[in-house]
Amino acid sequence: MTSTSGARAAPDATAGGPVGVVARGLAVRHGSRRSWALTGVDLVVEPGERLLVTGASGSGKSTLLAAVAGLLHDEGTEVTGELTVGGRPPAASRGRLGMLAQDPDSQLVMTRAGDDVAFGLENAGLPPEQIWPRVDEAMAAVGFVHGRDRPTHALSGGEKQRLVLAGALARRPGLLLLDEPTSQLDPGGAALVRDAVARVVADRAATVLVVDHDAAPWLPLVDRVVELVDGGLVEHGTGWRPAPRAAGLRLPAATAGPVLLAADAAGYTYRGTAVPALRPTDAALRAGRVLAVTRPNGTGKSTLALLLAGLRAPTTGRVDAAAGLASGVRRGGTAPHRWRAADLVTRIGTVFQNPEQQFLTGRLRDELALGPLRSGEHAAAARATADGLLERLGLTEFADANPFTLSGGQKRRLSVATALATSPEVLVLDEPTFGQDARTWREVVTLLAEQRAAGRAIAIVTHDADLVDVLADERIRL
């Protein structure tokens, strides 16, 4: 009644081994859209082969992955053409699949590392005495250095992804699907994951399909590269290299102005912890300059962003706004964390790493008008500002859409726009290029450069090395 008998076989049955994927004329359209996400895709993946599927956001990569994983079952989804995995319909082969997706915290199930890896084997009905040796084997295969009892919450992002990979491997899959597994990790974590993947694919016991808009890091690990362009497939030759993101980017120049906001030995220790999240740090934000804050890993840089944005008070040291910036503030003097929110919003604009956390309304237009309204503008003026911004960012057609329904790149543009709507002189951004493909990356960079040229002081907390190279005038390494 549930999945067909294919899924009932134990993962290490003799029918194991790598499986291939064959697609002929595969076309998919989602119910809510008018255009086809995939148009006539022909693809043959041999068992044991390693393939990279790349392409910009919205090109159909996730749809192709969902189709192969047998996850295309929303009502109204139209599918034509043929797709088989291991010679059978994708749903029948689901038991032989292993998946690694982007967000580790949405994939881990148990509180201890070993238990999580064992999870998939428990589901397969293996007896306990067979489970634990395989758990150890899988954890060693991915290079997970901690033991079985390590709490999962204590792991870094890269380590969590490694663990998820171990969990997938323990089931000895015939096909491994990797859906942008490093896009939410810092460079160290991403390297950990790629290293783990390289280790496990060496013996070709499974076919590997990697989907990622960022092709360059995966090239050494794969045999073939295909790219999805507007729903159609293009095969690249062995010498192909993607164009670097910053190629040909021309940004407006800017001149430095006075310091608008300064941190003076500002540090922060969370209540109840002994180790400071941020050691006393100096930082000065000048008009017309971009300050980049980097750190190998850890939360220190986000904490600095919170202090600069006036969202938390430093536990040591101080953060001061220049007299010009602080003029007209009703309460709090030059300390932004004491300002009222309505005053803060017109002076310091903040963009969080997760744009959804800053969404308040049910419509784009309202979202953009909210800041101006809150800071005292009249309704008509606020609406005009909102419409102007919508056009500037190419989001006019979504004016009445719910912000949560936008794509990742659009949400990012929206959150930057809402920060700009009140014309603050200082901008603080936390990982603004997170998860962006080449095109939206360039848009964000251009937008920020324009703000800089307009005389704003910008602080960017990031681990994106390209962004720092292209945009940073000054740099702090924590």
């Binding site: 549930t2 899924a7 689901r94 199930v109 238990d115 306990p128 009892d149 938390r312 929110a341 800053q358």
Partner: protein
Amino acid sequence: MTSLAVGPAPDVALARINPVTQLAAILVVTVVLLSSLDLVTPSIVVAAELCLLPAAGLTSPRAVWSRTWPLLTSAASVGVVNVLLSDDAPPLAGAALALRVVGLALPGVLLVASTDPVLLADALTVHWRVPPRFAYGALAALRLVPLLVVEFESVRLARRTRGVEGGSNPVAQARLFAGTGFALLVGAVRRGSRLATAMDARGFDSGVPRTNARGSSLHARDAVFLAGTVLVCGVAVTASISTGAWQPLFGG
């Protein structure tokens, strides 16, 4: 406070009692205490529970206080309120009710201090035939609690960046809270959907009967523990009746 961000079960004496045994004991105690309103029954039961505190690793007064202060304040409040709003109850009746609250809540404190959610889920699925998909689905969701707590705080700060703040107006505070709560729920539902897909990718819905890698076992000491609980409750009720203080909830 985030006892949920927990690793292995603490190495305390009470941890050797299976969680389902403790749950059964809690059930017994609850029935006995709920059905009586006098002072004697809860006194005896609470005294017995206090003896178990060291077995749960709660030896320092500080540790005990940090885990029990909420229930102590509410117990006090119950005692006071009942006396105030009743027709003719003496203060001692208030004390009896307060003690009853403590007696009902303390076993829960003991349980939390001596086990962890994974062991509890294992015990429930192995011994009480709780459907594993629900037990482990719940466990996966519980794992997200510390993350959700952090996210709540982030969303609250994010509101400040948009110019929205509660200030001193309670209505504004309530609206701000509702908005923050909503954003949290949206994120949680999305995360849940992704988690479900990931669990299915590891065979969660394959229909194959699940095994348990850790197992859960019952021993003689579990029977002893349960018998001991029943005995203590029996003694409490007997003492209460024989001293004439017995006052059942319904009737009498």
